[in-house]
């Protein structure tokens, strides 16, 4: 790392502009970047956000809880498709009602951008019927579960069956590993840490399952992430990746790194909006030193492989 004094730091800053992404993967010169329309160039890669939720977070009125305002926000930041779950799925018991409202909302107010991901709750009876309805009635391409808030863990006896069912039906299964820092939970909420170990076992038994872990970063020592990457084909989103250069460190592209913890093909853009600011997730892509190919994969390519454009 070269030494920077403040004068040259500022001088260079003012002369330097962010480079544009180009199909060829080359960084452009500052001059070329400056000539590009700062409000956005038409050919810039759109984002597929694999992790948003609609409706009301139970503990706070979120800024973008209204679907139309969320869609406007997503569009403003060049999100071209968002996989939407429902905050209602956390605590509601009538899951079909939850899923029907989600599907209708995506249809009515989704601006052609929201893809509904319904939910089933393994602790509630008749969940298999909800899987069927999600696919056959609500035409959803996937299911999102929220263990912990939904009163079951991944060691639930039906977990393997859910993985198998979604695989057989060609559905994507998204498993949410957290919604909120446990230190600031409402005192009445006791949601424990979700362990991925039983999921890994289930995935090994159903290798063709298409599973994405949301808001997951692995344990501190990282054995679970290693195991997921080595022994399953599960993918993950970036919403829980934290620390400077976290996305780059995850895929091994940070300065000085020779290897990452997950191959770039297994990492998808996910913002956790509207609970998290959308800006945070996009800034992670800017902050981490990622080349054009890596960006294309994370922003859209990996998601499209999991779910081709509707």
């Amino acid at each position: 790392m070269k030494h920077i004094d403040r004068r040259s730091f500022l001088k260079n800053s003012l002369l330097t502009t962010a480079a544009l992404s180009l199909p060829g993967g080359l960084a452009v010169t500052p001059a070329a970047a400056a000539s590009a329309a700062p409000a956005g160039s038409a050919q810039a890669t759109g984002l597929v956000d694999t992790n948003v939720n609609l409706f009301s977070w139970p503990f706070r009125k979120l800024k973008y809880s209204d679907t139309k305002s969320l869609v406007a926000k997503l569009k403003k930041h060049r999100v071209v498709e968002a996989w939407a779950g429902s905050f209602e799925a956390l605590l509601h018991k009538d899951m079909d009602g939850v899923n029907a409202r989600l599907a209708a909302e995506c249809r009515t107010n989704g601006g052609g951008l929201l893809i509904p991901f319904g939910s089933v709750n393994l602790a509630w009876p008749d969940w298999e019927e909800d899987v069927r309805r999600c696919q056959e009635v609500h035409k959803m391409p996937g299911i999102r579960i929220y263990p912990g808030y939904q009163p079951f863990d991944l060691d639930h006896p039906d977990m393997e069956r859910l993985v198998r069912m979604t695989a057989e039906r060609g559905l994507i299964l998204q498993v949410v590993f957290g919604m909120e820092d446990p230190r600031v939970h409402h005192p009445q909420i006791t949601v424990g840490r979700v362990s991925s170990a039983p999921l890994i076992a289930a995935l090994k038994n159903t290798p063709n399952a298409r599973v994405q872990l949301l808001h997951f970063s692995g344990s501190v020592r990282g054995e679970d992430l290693n195991q997921l990457m080595k022994e399953t084909s599960a993918v993950m989103d970036i919403s829980r990746l934290e620390g400077n250069g976290a996305v780059g460190r995850m895929i091994g592209s940070a300065p000085g790194m020779t290897a990452g913890r997950a191959p770039v093909e297994r990492v998808l853009f996910g913002s956790h909006a509207p609970y998290f600011p959308l800006e945070t997730a996009i800034l992670k892509l800017i902050e981490s030193p990622l080349d054009a190919k890596q960006l294309q994969a994370i922003m859209q390519g990996n998601a499209r492989r999991l779910l081709p454009r509707a």
Partner: protein, 296 residues
């Protein structure tokens, strides 16, 4: 005040008048007039004031031939209850008897006495027992078989009380207290036998989905708080033909239980099914077998 005298006109408040309630032919499949009182006969007589006032056509008393806490032990009032059931049969009082699946033989004997040779029209699974035997246990097989033979109505108390560590639905149930999932398993074993899943499991969103696949199970939703939308949900998932009404008086108000149905967006025909038509269909065979008059 006379039971039929009102100083408030219900129709001015968007509610059915007494005459309209009467026209709905309401059968209360969950009547506790004889329950939990040192003077059950007096309590029954007092409760009948409200039965009359609210235009209920018939009540089905649950607490006959013992109590729900001790179903197989006669109280000092059983003779009087028997006489009331015989005397008031034509005036809208019927009864079903609590049984105890921990003691199938004794339960069978009680059914012989009170149903085959007595005034009662069905059995009730109570809210638990010391042995912890729920309605899904094999002990129930002879009970269900005899109930079928007698054309007896089968009512099963169910709840899903939250409790345990970690808390889960049903984790707070009493020993032997059945859940809708227990009813579902029993129904799967006896697909040709009609069963009533009582109280809707308390937690109706879960209870309804637990029994949904089993067409021989109907839902009754008395004895829990009135939640707006509950009956709409049940009708959507089960259809209007699989719901029966209970009043749970005097410990629950008829206002509570009627309100659940009036809240729902139903046709008058569907409302009548829920208020009584569906139950009458269940009970018709035993009414006819006993030579009792019944108009469906």
């Amino acid at each position: 005040m006379d039971a039929r005298k009102f100083y408030l006109n219900p129709s001015a408040y968007g509610m059915p008048t007494r005459d309209e309630l009467v026209a709905m032919r309401i059968w209360d499949s969950h009547y506790h007039g004889f329950q939990s009182s040192p003077q059950p006969i007096k309590q029954h007589q007092e409760t009948m004031y409200y039965v009359e006032r609210m235009g209920i056509e018939r009540v089905i008393a649950f607490d006959v031939g013992g109590t729900w806490q001790r179903p197989l032990v006669d109280t000092d009032f059983e003779t009087q209850k028997w006489e009331i059931l015989v005397k008031d049969q034509d005036r809208g009082v019927s009864g079903i008897i609590p049984i105890e699946p921990s003691y199938p033989e004794k339960s069978l004997a009680k059914m012989e006495k009170w149903i085959r040779h007595g005034p009662c029209i069905g059995i009730k699974y109570s809210g638990g027992n010391e042995a912890g035997v729920s309605c899904n246990h094999p002990n129930n097989d002879p009970i269900i078989k005899l109930a079928v033979e007698l054309n007896a109505v089968i009512y099963i108390h169910t709840w899903l009380k939250v409790g345990g560590t970690p808390p889960r639905s049903g984790g707070g149930n009493s020993p032997g207290e059945s859940s809708p999932m227990d009813v579902a398993r029993l129904a799967q074993r006896y697909p040709g036998v009609s069963l009533i899943c009582g109280h809707s499991g308390g937690d109706w969103e879960l209870g309804v989905r637990a029994i949904r696949p089993f067409k021989n199970v109907v839902l009754e939703f008395a004895g829990s708080d009135p939640h707006s939308g509950a009956v709409d949900h049940a009708v959507r998932e089960l259809g209007a033909d699989r719901i029966v009404w209970g009043g749970h008086g005097p410990s629950r108000s008829f206002a509570t239980e009627l309100g659940k149905v009036l809240d729902a967006d139903l046709t008058n025909a569907d409302r009548m099914k829920i208020f009584g038509g569906n139950y009458r269909r269940l009970a018709a065979p035993i009414f006819r077998k006993k030579g009792l008059k019944i108009v469906l």
